[in-house]
Subunit: 342 residues, 2 copies
């Protein structure tokens, strides 16, 4: 097949296929200073004998990742940074310097940019991130924001997706599905939105990655494998299992669902489990650890995160992910959120 | 003024005003590990005692920076990397690891991405750059490409815009205006385009930054101040003068113009000097150096670049930039290419 004549549309490949294509075409032998390239939450580069440099980059595009209905300019500034902080956190690193490329229409009002920066700075100050550069460009129509975030980590403390071991507990740092339910509300599916669901909307708009806990889990060597929950726990656990060559079993009754999520599910007749398993954008940490570390993890998460991490399953042999419920054990599909597929 | 009520459009600020706004809003005290934040070709971060990490990020947006008439997918891949390589080069650094965020419509053909990667890899292999990560996203309409590029440099050899000294010679590494004239041709202003103008089009589509020479000029301590010519030499020399607190005088007769550029100017009755001074996208190096280093610079540029660097002026006291021609000495305006202004 001469690739120059491949007239298939990109959505025929799907996001995974596109990444694979880029990875294959770019595949020259990685120099030793690149410990990890494409295929984890961050790239891991060696800078000196002790420290690894972590690099991640994420783009948010108006009309795909957000609309003016779902994110205010301030929430956009916060969230564009949050999704990158989440990636550094998921490797056990400390976020440090951000680079912002922002494309806006020339007729965009100055207060849009002011509000965007207020949101960005709100999270930057809390996480100790410094804006060190970037690019401002004109966009012909929709807004587009790319942030590259650099962080660091003691070299031997970087937590990869590939370290899960059979027998590990599977942990998650907080309630799942809130962000997806918040999106459901912001898209106008329930109007007016009762006050009691504000927490769901807040987590969609201004998620707060557990950045201190992520670093501590790496620093104390507690997490064997870690990833941030961006595509839904089913798909993200799939990445850990695939990279680690293991399977997993999730206890349905342990999946943490918030009260507003459960209540909203009843009100609109949606299964809150679907939001929790497949909704995505949780920006919580999903990690595996030895069962002997349970007490240390619980006390660390209380101290560093303000809420208990929750044990939701076990790493097993094989390559499948199972969901154990009162109705039995079922294989868990992982649709997640797929770009480039309708 | 309550900034939340600033309803002016962004193009009232202009690109410089927008960058200033972002810089001011983000202005917390930079930690010592950030040697240079916003305001040079790259950010300069300290990683260890000897080495500086250079970081740059540039975005190309369809409809603003290119169209399918001006850049093939392959040229887009090349150029998106080239503009970043140029930034690292202009600090005296060595480009190392790239992060690519690409947003494409789902119906884009696979061969677009294949060709894009072929162009990207063509320059990556020549410059030793490794693709280490990024993001692939769906775009609702136009294509958008952001590349973040990391490089390194011995800490004491980083060349800033701010180092120009009164009495320095001003040098440029190659012919100016070719890229702008190439754009003029690609926009359909002369049809059909005679073969003799191919070099102009090539420099618009696949510019080759003098990356080995830039590194050598830093390494041997020859360049006092350096910048890449992206916005036109008038504007870019303006940055050096402003950051260094100096003025400059350019010798009009020394500005290097290519034969095709001169010939095209005659054919379409355009002044080639305007392309050379204000056209932009040259991705040549503009630097200042002590007059005593003339011979070393000439031999280094012959060895590392294949063409002689050209002496085009002198750094003087003051803050103005003058153009000396047969008609006398005139103050040089610097419109350059302004985003966010029509």
């Amino acid at each position: 097949l001469n690739h120059m004549t491949d007239h298939r549309p990109l959505n025929a490949l799907g996001e995974a296929g596109i990444i694979e294509l880029i990875q294959q075409r770019a595949a020259i032998r990685l120099p030793p200073c690149v410990r990890k390239g494409i295929g984890d939450d961050c790239a891991v580069l060696e800078t000196d004998a002790e420290t690894a440099l972590l690099v991640t980059m994420d783009t948010l595009i108006e009309g795909i990742h957000f609309t003016d209905q779902t994110l205010s300019p301030e929430a956009l500034g916060w969230k564009a940074l949050a999704v990158n902080v989440s990636d550094i956190t998921a490797m056990g690193g400390t976020p440090k310097t951000a680079f912002l490329s922002i494309g806006l229409k020339p007729e965009t009002e100055v207060n849009f940019l002011e509000s965007f920066m207020a949101g960005f700075n709100g999270l930057a100050r809390r996480t100790g991130v410094v804006l060190a550069g970037g690019d401002t460009v004109e966009s012909p129509s929709f807004a587009v924001v790319t942030i590259a975030l650099l962080g660091n980590c003691p070299k031997e403390r970087v937590v990869y997706r590939s370290g899960a071991r059979v027998g590990d507990d599977i942990w998650v740092t907080g309630r799942l599905g809130d962000a997806a339910a918040g999106l459901f509300l912001l898209q106008g599916n329930l109007s007016p939105v009762p006050q009691k669901y504000e927490a769901l909307i807040l987590w969609q708009q201004k998620p707060m990655p557990p950045f201190e806990l992520g670093r501590a889990l790496g620093q104390y060597g507690l997490a064997h494998a870690m990833i941030d929950v961006s595509d839904g726990i089913a798909k993200d656990l799939g990445h850990i299992c695939q990279e680690s060559g293991v399977g997993a079993i999730l206890q349905g009754s342990s999946i943490p669902l918030s009260d507003p999520l459960i209540e909203l599910g009843k009100e609109v007749q949606k299964d809150p489990f679907q939001w929790a398993l497949h909704g995505g954008e949780d920006y919580q940490l999903l990690f595996t650890a030895s069962p002997t570390e349970e007490q240390r993890i619980l006390s660390l998460s209380a101290k560093m995160w303000g809420g208990p991490a929750i044990k939701i399953g076990t790493i097993i042999q094989g390559s499948s992910i199972w969901l154990q419920t009162a109705n039995g054990r079922n294989r868990l599909d992982s649709p997640g959120f797929l770009h480039f597929s309708k």
